[in-house]
Amino acid sequence: MEKEGLGLEITELRLGLPGGSAPILVDKNEKKRVFSDISDDHENSSTDWKLTQTKNQVVGWPPVCSYRRKNSFHEKDRLETSKMYVKVSMDGAPFLRKVDLSMHEGYSDLAVALEKLFDCFGIGEALKDAENSEQVPIYEDKDGDWMLVGDVPWEMFIESCKRLRIMKRSEAKGFGLQPKGSHKGNSKDVAK
């Protein structure tokens, strides 16, 4: 009723937070895109998306400016969060690399760094369009689950990521079939 005061053609105002693409708020427990789901998951990504809020997982909230965040909390926290090195492995590469997640501001930034590290292209594309690219970047989180990189807000990702792996799409199919619990075992069978 009140909406008529707007003086415009109101057809169907869509209320609530936007659906469609990358969600901003994710309830980790409910909508964790565990890797085993991904290879079969083509169509339902947007429609099933429930945007529920998790405490303290919202980017840039509460609005404490980054300077204050870096400088004010107890030294222990500062030291713990100042460097966030994780190992990065790439299928087909003979060596492991390390990347400091705290040095990057977001996924695009990380993609550029990974490209430089492994001198390969397509990591950026892989982050944007997981279904179609040659390489699939995945990460092992605090719970030992392998997740697709790019699904959760950046802040949440850097806090839970323990290591990264750039996997070939062909390998991914087989990997995805493993039940959740045995992922840890499989991660050691990295390609030569």
């Binding site: 909406k3 937070l17 990358a22 509460p62 004010s72 501001e105 996924y107 802040e155």
Partner: protein
């Protein structure tokens, strides 16, 4: 009819008269009187403030004002402070410095906020402006101690170097030694703020510098300067008016007595800050100066708890500005209200913003106490975990002189804890009673109704920050159509879409900028707005790839709209899209 003014009144006299008119608004007004006044005014304008570095180009500025001495520029939108603006978005100062280096050889002051400045630019500044006096870099980045070394070495007339809250890269080679680049015969330093530097500075260089600059009034040290060194510095500069300490975690009796003696010699000290990791046992050294203090920033003092804070503030009877952590608790704020009757500004920051549960006894009551006890309080920033409409109504009635009210209830969409309703009426009371309110930040559970109140009563409101609030486009419409003086509007995570934005498109040209992120504005609406409003830059900031690859009805991640007279900018990164298809760089 020919104007009499131009021919009979000497220009020099007009220029002299104009020299008493300082405010930009006034100078803008007199420049519209007639052509000759416009000319005289533009040649004599010395101070220029550019609130959005992309609203105008250096060329246009120089063309209009050929002899500027003080330049102030602001870059990134405010929400960049909370990591909402991706790295590489823009706000590069180098084209401005390059242009100024040839056009304004007599430039004396440069003040930048949220901009990216390189070492090369710093070096260019140091070599281009012979009379350079003031450099203030507030929340800036992109430079290192190398750039600072150039400033130190070449700016013979430097008075002020203030790096407040900037991010400075410390290059190992010159770590701490950039200070030694100030020549031995350099004595004109008045203000030095290096609090944000993470690395050590050379103590000897610092001591010698402080010792040879008799006009030094402000010295804000960084963490790495220990208290025993501080004592030495204070004895060299007892004339200091503003001091920022370093850290001091070990309580040592010899250091304590030395410091006490040093502080007692500082008869002019009015402002204190720093106190990182300070052992509370050191606080008594500042008791003798408390009665003179007008400004106290303890917001980085994570080691000082409520009882020590109370002891301290109870002695600061002349305090006008207090920034503190929520360790002060309601009890401490009651003590503040009782002791500090001259308080004008209060900021209470959260000690554990990401904790799920409250860790301190700080509620709405603390703010209510201060609003009752401090008649001059007009500027508030307050983080807490509970609020009620009653409390907000009380604060509004107590303090109709409020000009800046920023409340952050930590959990989004928190209702009134007493009756579980929205906080619409509480904030409504704030805008209704505080008729001079210029800045407002909302939080808690809020419906479209709060925006109706804001649109109705917020006639002097210039800046509004909104998060997790509202139900529909009507909310945004109320604000855009009602707030006549609105200049900056920043919104995140609200269900505002195309309708209100498009219906109020003309309003956007009267504002500096509008930021919307995680809302429901479609790419189609952004394109339309950009096409219809040539004097606006409509920037879609989206890291998911080209918006063209998604349906036009798809909401954009982030949107930044600002008025400009210099058209599209040329330094947009790949994740920024505007109406011009070709303006996105890098990605196809």
């Amino acid at each position: 009819m020919k104007m009499m003014m131009g021919s009979s009144f000497p220009e020099e006299v007009l220029e002299h008269v104009f020299s008493f008119i300082e405010r930009d608004k006034d100078r803008n007004a007199i420049s519209t009187v007639c052509q000759s006044w416009y000319e005289i005014e533009r040649w004599s304008r010395r101070r220029v403030f550019v609130g959005n570095c992309y609203a105008v180009s250096p060329l246009i500025l120089i063309k209009r004002f050929p002899d500027v001495r003080c330049l102030e520029l602001k870059g990134k939108p405010h929400f960049a402070d909370f990591n909402l603006v991706p790295e590489g978005w823009g706000a590069y100062v180098s084209p401005w410095i390059a242009a100024a280096s040839t056009a304004y050889p007599w430039l004396e002051e440069i003040r930048l906020k949220r901009m990216v400045i390189s070492d090369d630019s710093l070096e260019l500044i140091s070599k281009s402006f012979k009379n350079f006096k003031v450099l203030v870099l507030s929340s800036c980045e992109g430079f290192s101690t190398e750039g600072l070394a150039a400033i130190a070495a070449n700016c013979r007339n430097l008075r002020e170097l203030d790096l407040r809250e900037s991010e400075v890269e410390d290059l190992n080679q010159s770590s701490g030694h950039w200070l030694s680049h100030f020549p031995d015969n350099y004595t004109s330093l008045v203000s030095l703020n290096i609090a944000c530097l993470n690395s050590e500075v050379s103590f000897t260089a610092l001591e010698r510098l402080v010792g040879r600059c008799p006009n030094l009034r402000t010295l804000r040290l960084n963490r790495a300067v220990p208290l025993d060194r501080l004592a030495i510095l204070l004895r060299r500069a007892p004339q200091l008016v503003e001091l920022g300490t370093g850290e001091a975690s070990d309580l040592r009796p010899d250091v304590f007595s030395n410091l006490s003696g040093a502080f007692s010699g500082c008869k002019e000290l009015k402002s204190l800050s720093g106190f990182w990791d300070v052992a509370p046992g050191y606080l008594p050294v500042v008791y003798p100066i408390c009665p003179r203090l007008t400004s106290l920033n303890l917001s980085y003092a994570a080691t000082i708890q409520s009882s020590d804070l109370i002891k301290l503030v109870s002695q600061c009877h002349n305090l006008q500005k207090l920034w503190v952590l929520d360790y002060i608790e309601d009890l401490g704020l009651e003590a503040l209200a009782a002791s500090c009757k001259d308080l004008r500004e209060l900021r209470v920051f959260p000690s554990e913003p990401f904790g799920a549960e409250p860790n301190v006894l700080l509620t709405e009551q603390g703010l209510v106490s201060v609003s009752e006890g401090c008649p001059k309080l007009h500027s508030v920033l307050y983080f807490c975990r509970q609020m009620s409409n009653d409390a907000l109504r009380t604060i509004a009635r107590n303090r109709p002189n409020m000009t800046r009210f920023r409340l952050c209830i930590i959990e989004p969409r928190t209702p009134d804890y007493l009756n579980h309703q929205s906080l619409d009426v509480g904030f409504g009371a704030i805008v209704e009673h505080c008729k001079d309110l210029r800045r407002l930040s909302l939080s808690g559970l809020l419906t479209d109704r709060v925006f109706e109140y804001i649109g109705t009563y917020g006639k002097k409101l210039e800046m509004l920050s909104v998060a997790f609030a509202g139900d529909s486009d009507l909310g945004l419409h109320h604000v855009l159509s009602g707030c006549e003086n609105l200049r900056k509007l920043e919104i995140r995570d609200c269900p505002f879409g195309d309708k209100a934005l498009l219906a109020n498109a003309a309003k956007l040209e009267t504002m500096r900028s509008l930021w919307m992120s995680s809302c429901s504005v479609s790419f189609g609406a952004c394109k339309l707005l950009g096409q219809k409003m040539p004097r606006l830059n409509v920037e879609v900031i989206d890291e998911r790839g080209p918006p063209g690859s998604r349906p036009e009805s798809c909401p954009v991640e982030k949107l930044y709209i600002y008025r400009t007279i210099s058209g599209q900018r040329f330094d947009m990164p790949g994740f920024v899209w505007t109406k011009d298809e070709n303006s996105a760089l890098g990605l196809s």
